[in-house]
């Protein structure tokens, strides 16, 4: 394997764009990333797209093919990867591997999404019987995604004494971080009182503690060291890049299943923990070396639980860290200086790519309005349907 570098990153703002097709969002993000790298379409030797189940890709998840056919028929390999909400992270990993192997010198990864409104519905075309738990969870109990996270949250309150106020503070912090980020959809400060007064969805989670769904797109261009030197600017190395799947005995309540293991023979959320550990091993770093973490905060619970699961803190320690300002942009471990999913809303397959964009901006000191001072090592973590996890470590 040879070292891989970030040549350029770009993103479309997050929000609701009813007049802009998914393909347009993807092209906007890719153009921005190429412009950032100082390259044009002809420089690309491969394109990897996260497959969306909602729009585009000719109904077959062929989003990379669709992009090339729309804008540059280069004849280069088009790779389309699935991975639910982790597909963006997996797309970055595939692009990384294509460069690391020496197969290509310049490869782009893109995730673009236009989300339907409200609770994410079940995909069409699957049998209505007990072989599909995504059918069962609806017909037998109406288990929405927030219900799964609420079950984890209630248990955390029981195990660690996490208070409703601390949970609300996690959401307040994410919204505060987004104030200075023009890409974020929700850029309005809120208070603990606002969060606790917002409608209860699945108690103990209020609507301001659960991420919305958004439209958005992000792209990264990765390349060899020679290419990175040609492009100029601060060298940002992809020091660690890993994907993983769930492990047997994982006690997490995983959407859309209706049962889980009661033992604790392996990590909770083992797909993400596995990817985070592999990325750290590849980069040769420990959690204590990481300067900032961009992670999937589908709810306020994730902000507290995930850093503990990854080994950044002891179980139950996040509450204290949050209460003492250690998770803020100027804290010991800034979590989601971008504002996270709670401020962006989740544009599923674009999310894992956006995390890499944000880390690159932070390490280049271009995160105007939400800059973590002196950040040199940043890590991402994202979870997807099917027990998919991905994690990327960038090093300046």
């Amino acid at each position: 394997m040879r070292p891989v570098y970030v040549l350029g990153v770009g993103a479309h703002a997050w929000g609701k764009f009813p007049d802009k097709p998914q393909l347009q969002l993807a092209l906007d993000a890719l153009r921005a990333a190429l412009r950032d790298a100082g390259l044009d379409w002809r420089a690309l030797q491969g394109l990897v797209a996260a497959s969306s189940r909602f729009e585009g890709g000719m109904g077959w998840g062929l989003h990379a093919n669709e992009i090339l056919q729309a804008v540059a028929e280069l004849g280069i390999p088009a790779t389309n990867v699935g991975g639910g909400c982790a597909a963006g992270g997996i797309a970055v990993h595939t692009a990384f591997s294509m460069v690391a192997s020496g197969e290509c010198d310049v490869v782009a990864a893109v995730g673009a999404e236009r989300m339907p409104k409200g609770f994410i519905p079940r995909p069409p075309g699957i049998a209505n019987d007990i072989s599909d738990t995504d059918y069962l969870r609806w017909v037998a109990m109406g288990a929405t995604n927030p219900a799964y996270w609420a079950l984890e949250t209630r248990r955390r309150m029981h195990d660690h004494g996490t208070s409703a106020q601390t949970l609300a503070k996690a959401s307040v912090l994410m919204h505060q971080n987004a104030l200075g980020n023009p890409l974020a959809r929700y850029r309005k400060a809120c208070t603990v009182e606002d969060v606790l007064a917002s409608p209860m969805v699945s108690d103990p989670l209020h609507i301001l503690e659960i991420c919305a769904v958004s439209d958005g797109a992000a792209a990264v261009v990765l390349g060899s060291q020679a290419q990175a030197r040609q492009c100029g600017g601060r060298l940002i190395e992809v020091a660690g890049c890993a994907t993983a799947t769930g492990q047997f005995g994982d006690p997490s309540v995983r959407v859309p299943t209706v049962s889980t293991a009661a033992g604790h023979v392996t990590s909770h959320t083992s797909e993400v923990v596995g990817a985070v550990r592999r990325a750290c091993a590849m980069a040769g770093v420990m959690p204590t070396d990481i300067d900032l973490l961009e992670m999937a905060d589908n709810t306020a619970w994730h902000v507290l639980a995930w850093p503990e699961l990854f080994g950044f803190f002891e179980p139950g320690q996040s509450d204290w860290m949050l209460e003492n300002g250690q998770l803020g942009i100027d804290g010991r471990l800034p979590i989601n200086p971008s504002g996270g999913f709670l401020s962006f809303g989740e544009a599923t397959t674009a999310q894992g790519v956006l995390q890499v964009c944000e880390m690159a901006w932070q390490l280049r000191e271009q995160a105007t309005g939400h800059q973590v001072q002196g950040a040199r090592l940043a890590q991402s973590a994202v979870l997807g349907l099917g027990a998919n996890g991905a994690s990327v470590i960038l090093k300046a």
Partner: protein, 147 residues
């Protein structure tokens, strides 16, 4: 008009034996892992033979966590009349936790660790006029909890 017996929300999810309802699951004969609903294979990577059989799961368990659903879930889920309800995660002696709605469980009585037993409740009446029921967990009576 004679009323027909209620239909299950999904065929093969639960069954009644000797007047008591049980969830249908799968047990691995080799490593004794249990699964719900029924599974095609054992998922334990250290289990090589993976000889599985369908079993009826224990009717009693303890509440591991719960949440009250304040918003009506999207279609596929039907409940008439719709009211906010509680979902529980119930730990069974087989070493698995099962999600399900809670019945007869007022908010002030719910607590983690409480003993629950399996029951069924009608969710709605279908277009053909038949009642459709799902499994739920309700507080165990003293006698049954001790059993």
């Amino acid at each position: 008009m004679t009323s027909s017996p209620p239909l299950p929300v999904a065929e093969g999810l639960f069954q009644t034996q000797n007047g008591s309802v049980h969830l249908r699951g799968t047990r691995c004969r080799n490593c004794n892992s249990h699964y719900f609903p029924v599974a095609l294979s054992c998922r334990n990577p250290n289990c090589h033979d993976k000889q599985v059989e369908d079993v009826l799961l224990s009717r009693h368990g303890t509440l591991y966590s719960y949440t009250r659903q304040h918003y009506q879930p999207p279609p596929l889920f039907r409940m008439t009349p719709w009211t906010p309800y509680t979902l529980g995660l119930v730990e069974l002696p087989e070493g698995i936790r099962v999600m399900g709605m809670l019945a007869d469980c007022p908010n002030e009585q719910i607590h983690i660790g409480m003993t629950l037993e399996l029951t069924t409740r009608v969710l709605y009446r279908n277009d053909a006029g038949q009642d459709v029921q799902t499994y739920q967990f309700s507080p165990a009576t003293q006698h049954e909890a001790a059993a």
